[in-house]
Amino acid sequence: MTTIAMLRIDSPRARRTRIGALLAGALLLGACDMDIANTNAPTIDDLVDSPTRDILATAATGIFARAFNDVGTEIQFYAIYGREGYNLDGNDPRDVDEQVAGPQNAAARSGAIWIGQYNAIRHINTYLAALPNATGLSEAEVRASMGFAKTLKAWHFARLAIRTGELGIPIDVDRPISEEPAPFVSFADALEYVSDLLDEARDDLVAAGGAAFPFPVAPGFDDFDTPARFLQFNRALAAKVLVYRATFNDCSACWAQAATALSESFITDAGLPGSLSLGVYYGYTGLADEFSNPITEPLSGNQLWVHSSIVTGVQRRGDGSPDLRFTRKVMDSGRVHTYKELTGTHKPVLYNNPSNRAEPNPAAWVPWITNEELLLLRAEIRWHTGDKAGAISDIDLIRQHAGGLDPTSLTPASSDDEFIDELLYNRLYSLMWSQGVRWIDARRYDRLDTLPIDRPGDQIFTNMLVPAAECAARGHDVPCTPLTAQSN
């Protein structure tokens, strides 16, 4: 290069100045700190690289917060699919078109509420990866944290598996975003994975012994704030999933396992009817920048309506008044509201202000799993494992304490169908508008054709679809069935 040749024949002084400049340059290049952190928000490195006790505690709070993802939306969607009610406020025609008449649209409602769970799962996986490197935590506390995280992770997968049913879901999602998307697994395999994960969590919680959680629990977990008590919540979820497997996936061995799991949960006969509400809840607070109950509105609102079949199908008490559960949870709006030929007269008020049920209550808690549900599960399990008398007595407990109804006329000699009818009635009125019970029960007991159709052309759907974005990311057309595409 000309320059260098020129400078070689320069005076020594020029050479010295050139060297000096180069040295200064080297110093400049090397000395500066080029790693400027993003201080606007914590980054994932804060969580993974140096997890201290405090950081992990805030991450655990994040896990609790992420559990709220799509709770309200799911309840509303499933309520429509199972005809527990309709959304008639007219803001978006898809509420009564796509969701009721179809066709299902993977790019719209039918493919929604998927990313909420997977984002929660990614956060939990990040937390689980950080735990082994944690500082400031004892071994027992680490196990306790793992048990907690795995329980919630399993529950998110359970919700996803139920949602798409036979289409399956991807499970092995704990991978970098640059890798191929995880393969789909079948409905049965997905729920088996959930059961195994819940059992792993149980082992972690047992190993934690008497240690306390190294983080505060969220509202709704008030009675389950120690590993020992949390374990009972874990077993309750495990029993529920096993019953799903027994009915959805024809897993006959699951009934006995469900019985075992249920016996280790917080189920109790004592203290009824008060103890019916014992359990874990989604603890909405209604505070600014926290979560508000999304399924509550004033009686004058037009969005939430209870299906007329629930009004007409209610059983009567001895004195002729309706089932107490109905009286508590449903209220006559005093008018007839119609939107696109669907009508509503009664509204769900179970999340409204208890002292003035015409008023909404943004701080109303939504049940996650309660003793009432566990007793109903026990009835179901007992019937299917041969203890029909025990099943009927459990039904009667619920009828009496929750509904104020006379005992059932069922006997151990009654047919399966008769028992299922009574079981599903009680499950509906005990658990309506909290988890899509009518739709899920109709699916697993093959009774979708018993759900009411109010307009010609309306459909009852079997499951939700794989979201369009998931199909697009895998190079499929929309709608897609990746499970079948994989096996081809």
């Binding site: 994932i44 917060a65 997977y118 600014a288």
Partner: protein, 987 residues
């Protein structure tokens, strides 16, 4: 006039090579004079030299313009140069020994030095790329809100977009098309070597007015508004990648290099300029007249009876004229002094200006103080210092988009003209329009009580220290260290008190916002420049290191539900706060080589910049931006003294990733009173890289007809690859978006600049310039991503930009009518924001002591989305609503069909006019007082607009501060014309 002989250029080149390195001791002597070709006055300090000989052997003319030069025997070629004049090269035959050179004033600024590197310059006529140049005088002649406004119509390849007609700025510059989709879109501004911040920090008006996208629609002022046009000496726009490659990954959108006025040796010269003027609307909102029957169709009977009375059966009130009826005088006072000795030169100036707006209680003001100092220490060391303090104030008013009727134009679009908003209630307050319509705001009440105030304090200072380490006949070695600081603090206050009618309708009445930003930019560099001169050639090598640091913190405290009458942010119940920091650091080294061969006819320039930055995924990696360009000048090709230059240039620049794109942040959801951490749904891309722009530029420039005609013709093609894009990963990953590098866009175009001096005589000079620009941009490849709407693309379904593979980058899409009058199923292209071409005409006529100048700006084609008319149509207030065309549009508005609202933006605007009179020397001398000159004048800005566009101004953009921008008219501040009377005295 002495004769000049034509000489074939080839022989000339050979001759140049054959000239001996040293002049023979015996030669001959040439004497002569150098004079101004127009006035025939002598020129002192002109340099006369032999082409190809060392510069040190040049002769300088004395005060009478005389010189004596020793030249070798035989034919020689002489070069004569003087500051402000066009260089002249002349063949001297062996017999000639006396010569008179008449130099022409450099009206086309060909001799100006333009930057080629951090510390190197080149004269413009030799430059190997197209560099737009605006002299300081052209920027100062007519008062303008910012220097960018003053550049309209004068440059090729540059597009300027104002956000609205509000005083004090809010204008974006785009060079050679849209060069990014989601990345940074602003050119780099460098003032006296200091990187100058041009951020725009929104002030919160968008929140108070519930604009859909509050921050983007706040009509913020970008901070170039702080720079005082009165201090500008020159502005260069480095358009091509080859030219701006030296600035690396901040330069993909072009670089604007600004130099301020410096001192001149001599006795101190004072100048005082006083301007006083007034602004009036260029166009204003118009509203239809209603008959009583028409009113009854839209309004309740009692409302109609209230306004249509017996005394006033046909009420019509021009409410817009009342809102935009402020006519306060604007003024500007500039005082400056320059002077010095050979070794010390200074320039100091102070400016106070106030531009009053046409909307009530709006206006902008600027106070600035500058001191520039140049000091030489002996012959080896020189130091130049620049420092400026500036304070800008802006009351911007209430315009653009709202969702609570609290923008004036918005309310006016909904209010029928039979309602008089200036009527007052018995208690003195303005009437409440809610009694009569759904409109919740009385614009006059808002103008009276609302506060939308911005104040910025800024300091910019820099230095350049040069050391001539080595200086011989043949070579020189110079070291330059330089750098500087640009720091500002902007504070905004927005207050919409509880008494305002639209606040009374809110769940949480009353809103107060305190927001602002603190910015600190500093950059430092060291450079070494080595030059070597030979026989007919020279080589200049420069190398250096640079360090740049840019830091910006913005914050906002927003409170609603105020205590009545209170405006502090701690006097409400609903308070939210935000804070955000951006910080970026770059280290770079560069190397560049400039070779002049064949007596400077051939110029070769090449070099590269290697830089690493903290915003890249890999902060250790150096990204290299090379450039290479060549130009050759054909002398006397088209007549004696003519020059035709061919140039080809290739360069690469980059566009940095945005701060934070490489991080995956955690969200902080709150539950049970506790904050948690959770992985957010926006992933970061840890290997993110800058975008890369590669451009090829070719051009032919010419200077003919005795410097009376010059032209510059340039064609360019530029591809930007590795774009910063976002893709949607599989939702099962838990993420809904992740940035990545990919895709490609292309911009190509033609620029043509023509300069003509049709008249050049002792009494009169007429200089005419034309600047023509045409370019197109296309999305070539989107890396498999589906079409998407970029940030600030507009309102859903109402004329948006959409990025789609194979389409123009700036296409505007929307819905059309189906044959049966319904709405089309999907959105199709309805227009394009990029015009067919733009032409600027600048004419400058001097006759004796008079000077007339005018700048005309013509845009042909391009589209603007007129949502003001959409609102008016939907509410039956557009002036032609009752006509068939108006009714067709009314139908479109009710069905959200955009097609009738995408209008042709063709316009011709008379941007500047000035008439100046220099009082004759005889008169100034008789006045005495040491008066050197006295100049009177009338100047005007935006005086006329000819356009078929039905709205206020086809150039406004609601979402102006965005990469892919398009003119979008939604009830903006109306444009105004201003006229100033100027008086300027010099002592």
């Amino acid at each position: 006039m002495p004769k000049r002989r034509k000489t074939p250029w080839l022989w000339l080149a050979l001759l140049g090579l054959l000239l001996p390195a040293e002049l023979a001791a015996q030669g001959r002597s040439i004497t002569g004079r150098v004079v101004d070709g127009a006035t025939m006055q002598p020129i002192s300090n002109a340099s006369v030299s032999v082409v190809g000989a060392p510069v040190a052997n040049a002769a300088l003319t004395d005060a009478q313009g005389r010189f004596t030069l020793t030249v070798p025997e035989g034919q020689v070629r002489l070069s004569v140069q003087a500051l402000g004049y066009v260089r002249m090269e002349v063949e001297i035959t062996p017999g000639q020994s006396q010569f008179e050179f008449a130099l022409q004033p450099d009206v086309f600024r060909l001799e100006e030095l333009v930057v080629t590197g951090q510390a190197t310059t080149i004269d413009r006529r030799s430059a190997t790329t197209s560099i737009a140049y605006v002299a300081g005088d052209d920027v100062k002649r007519v008062t303008s809100p910012t220097i960018l406004n003053a550049m309209a119509g004068k440059l090729t390849g540059v597009s300027l977009q104002t956000n609205s007609g509000a005083p004090g700025g809010g204008i974006q510059m785009q060079i050679r098309g849209t060069n990014t989709l989601l990345g940074g879109f602003d050119p780099l501004f460098v003032v006296d070597g200091v990187i100058y911040s041009n951020v725009s920090i929104p002030g919160g008006r968008g929140f108070a007015n519930q604009a859909a996208n509050a921050q983007m629609e706040a009509d913020a002022v970008n901070r170039i508004a702080d720079l005082n046009p009165a201090d500008i000496a020159s502005i260069e726009v480095l358009k091509g990648a080859a030219a701006s490659s030296i600035y690396g990954s901040k330069a993909a959108n072009g670089v604007v290099v600004i130099r301020t006025v410096r001192g001149v040796a001599g006795a101190p010269q004072f100048n005082i300029t006083q301007r006083i003027g007034i602004s009036t609307p260029l166009r204003n909102y118009e509203s239809r007249r209603w008959t009583r029957e028409e009113a009854l169709e839209w309004f309740d009977e009692d409302v109609v009876n209230y306004w249509f009375t017996e005394e006033n059966p046909n009420p019509y009130y021009d409410n817009a004229a009342k809102v935009y009826g402020q006519r306060k005088p604007s003024y500007e006072t500039i005082v400056d002094v320059r002077g010095g000795t050979e070794s010390t030169r200074y320039y100091a100036s102070g400016t106070v200006s106030r531009e009053e707006g046409i909307e009530r209680n709006t206006g902008a003001g600027r106070q600035s103080l500058r001191v520039n100092l140049d000091q030489e220490f002996g012959s080896k060391v020189d130091l130049s210092l620049s420092s400026a303090y500036n304070r800008s104030v802006n009351d911007r008013g209430w315009n653009n988009n709202c969702n609570n009727y609290a923008c004036h134009g918005y309310a006016l679009a909904y209010l029928p003209s039979f309602i008089d908003i200036s009527r007052r209630n018995p208690d003195g307050t303005y009437i409440d329009p809610r009694q009569f319509t759904i409109v919740k705001s009385n614009p006059l009440q808002l103008a009276e009580l609302g506060v939308n105030h911005e104040e910025t304090n800024r300091f910019t200072g820099g230095f350049n220290l040069g050391w001539n380490a080595l200086q011989t006949d043949r070579q020189s070695l110079r070291f330059v260290a330089g750098g500087g600081v640009d720091v500002f603090e902007q504070a905004n206050e927005v207050w919409t008190p509880n008494e305002l009618y639209f606040e009374q309708s809110e769940v949480f009445p009353g809103e107060a916002i305190q927001s602002g930003g603190r910015s600190l930019y500093h950059n430092w560099n060291v450079n070494a420049i080595h030059t070597l001169d030979g026989e007919g050639w020279s080589a200049m090598t420069s190398a250096g290191l640079q360090y740049e640091d840019r830091r910006l913190t913005t914050s906002m405290i927003r409170t609603q539900d105020l205590l009545p009458g209170q405006r502090n942010v701690n006097r409400g119940t609903q308070t939210s706060v935000t804070e955000e920091l951006e910080h970026e650091r770059t280290i770079a080294l560069y190397l560049s080589e400039q070779l002049r061969l064949f007596d400077s006819r051939l110029l070769l320039q090449t070099g590269f910049r290697a830089e690493r930055s903290s915003v890249n995924g890999s902060t250790d990696r150096y990204f290299v931006y090379p450039n290479a360009s060549v130009s050759y000048r054909f002398m006397d090709l088209l007549g004696e003294g003519s020059e035709v230059k061919l140039r080809v240039a290739y360069g690469e620049t980059g566009n940095q990733p945005l701060f934070g794109q490489k991080f995956t942040t955690l969200a902080t959801p709150k539950i049970g009173g506790r904050r948690g951490l959770a992985v957010a749904t926006d992933a970061g891309f840890e290997d993110i890289e800058p975008e890369r722009l590669k451009e090829v530029e070719v051009g032919i420039d010419g200077i003919v007809l005795d410097n009376r005609l010059t032209w510059e013709l340039t064609g360019f093609v530029r591809n930007t690859t590795n774009l910063l894009l976002e893709r949607v990963p599989a939702p099962s990953t838990g993420f809904s978006s992740v940035p990545f590098n990919g895709g490609k866009i292309r911009n190509s175009g033609v620029e043509f600049a023509l300069g003509v001096t049709p008249v050049r005589s002792a009494d009169m000079t007429w200089v005419s310039r034309v600047a023509f620009t045409h370019y197109v941009g296309k999305v070539v490849d989107l890396a498999g991503q589906p079409a998407f709407f970029p940030a600030g693309s507009g309102f859903g379904g109402l004329g948006q930009t959409r990025i789609e593979e194979g389409k123009s980058i700036t296409q505007i899409v929307g819905y059309t009518f189906t044959p049966d009058g319904g709405r089309s199923a999907s959105m199709t292209q309805l227009g394009d924001a990029t015009p067919d071409f733009r032409v600027g005409f600048v004419n400058d006529l001097s006759y004796r002591n008079w000077n007339f100048a005018a700048v005309l700006d013509w845009q042909q084609g391009g589209n603007v989305v007129n949502l003001t008319r959409f609102l008016q149509d939907a509410n039956a207030t557009s002036p032609d609503w009752a006509t068939p065309e108006g009714q067709r549009r009314f139908l479109a508005a009710s069905r959200v069909i955009t097609e009738p609202y995408v209008e042709d933006a063709t316009f011709v605007k008379l941007r500047e006019v000035s008439v100046l009179y220099d009082v004759p020397v005889s008169v100034t001398q008789s006045i005495g007082l040491g008066l050197r000159h006295l100049r009177l004048g009338l100047t005007g800005r935006n005086l006329f607009m000819w356009t078929r566009y039905s709205g206020l101004d086809p150039e406004v953009a609601n979402f102006g501060a965005t990469a892919v921008r398009h003119p979008l008219d939604i009830t903006p501040y109306p444009p105004s014309r201003s006229i100033y009377f100027n008086i300027s005295v010099g002592f």
